[in-house]
């Protein structure tokens, strides 16, 4: 039970793509926040978090995503979420964070 993060920078779209593999929980959420913001500070661009390999997220993980969102907004950049599995999409629905984040492939974009 851990978290691996695959990082890519799409030069054509000037977009950071992060693919978290595993679980974003109290043990791993600070790793996600550090990794994403480190890359963002080095090269400012919009960010896509692709949830295709994400199995689980808890409230500390949501907190990490909210911190990332705030930092990007201060710099007038956007964060997108995509390919969220139904169990994770449900957590965004319950917490109404689906209204705060742009979830790709849905009407909210």
């Amino acid at each position: 039970m851990s978290l691996n993060i695959v990082v890519n920078h799409d030069k054509d779209k000037n977009l950071w793509v992060f693919v978290p593999e595993g679980e974003i929980d109290i043990y791993t959420s600070s790793k996600l926040k550090k990794e994403v913001l480190y890359n963002f500070e080095n090269n400012k661009a919009d960010i896509l978090i692709d949830g295709k390999q994400l199995n689980y997220i808890d409230s500390t993980g949501l907190g990490a995503l909210i911190s990332i969102l705030k930092r990007l907004k201060e710099n007038e950049y956007k964060i997108y979420l995509s390919n969220l599995r139904p169990n994770i999409r449900k957590i965004f629905d319950i917490t109404e964070l689906d209204k705060l984040f742009i979830i790709r492939g849905e009407d909210s974009e």
Partner: protein
């Protein structure tokens, strides 16, 4: 009434919360709960443990699983419904409680912590 009890105690460290989630899924699976309910239990117990870890001063978190024919009840020690105003992660903790209350069928707070219940539906 067929009530079996399982006790689990973990050190108050983030390292062991995934173990609790895994154990809970296993227990729920043996009770023939459906996949969605098992996921709800796993998420809720994870949130309860995070709450206890952040808001309680004990060295350990104690869990009690009570297995009935028609329901699974889970008690987690040290979980608090009232989040201190000054806590930096206050918003996160409130999200955690919201998730638990949304996913479980019954949630009761008492002086020891929290008790959460998931009922087993007939169509499982």
């Amino acid at each position: 009434m067929n009530r079996d009890r399982i006790y689990l105690q973990i050190p108050k460290k983030p390292d062991f919360i995934s173990l609790v989630r895994l154990t809970s899924s296993g227990i729920a699976y043996t009770m023939s709960l459906n996949v969605d309910d098992i996921e709800d239990i796993k998420v809720s117990i994870g949130e309860a443990c995070v709450n206890s870890l952040m808001l309680n001063n004990e060295d350990e978190i104690s869990l009690l699983f009570e297995l009935d024919d028609n329901k699974l009840s889970i008690g987690v020690s040290g979980v608090r419904e009232i989040i201190p105003e000054e806590l930096e992660e206050r918003k996160e903790r409130e999200l955690g409680l919201l998730i638990i209350k949304s996913l479980m069928d019954e949630v009761v707070f008492n002086e020891d912590g929290i008790r959460m219940i998931k009922y087993i539906e007939d169509d499982n």
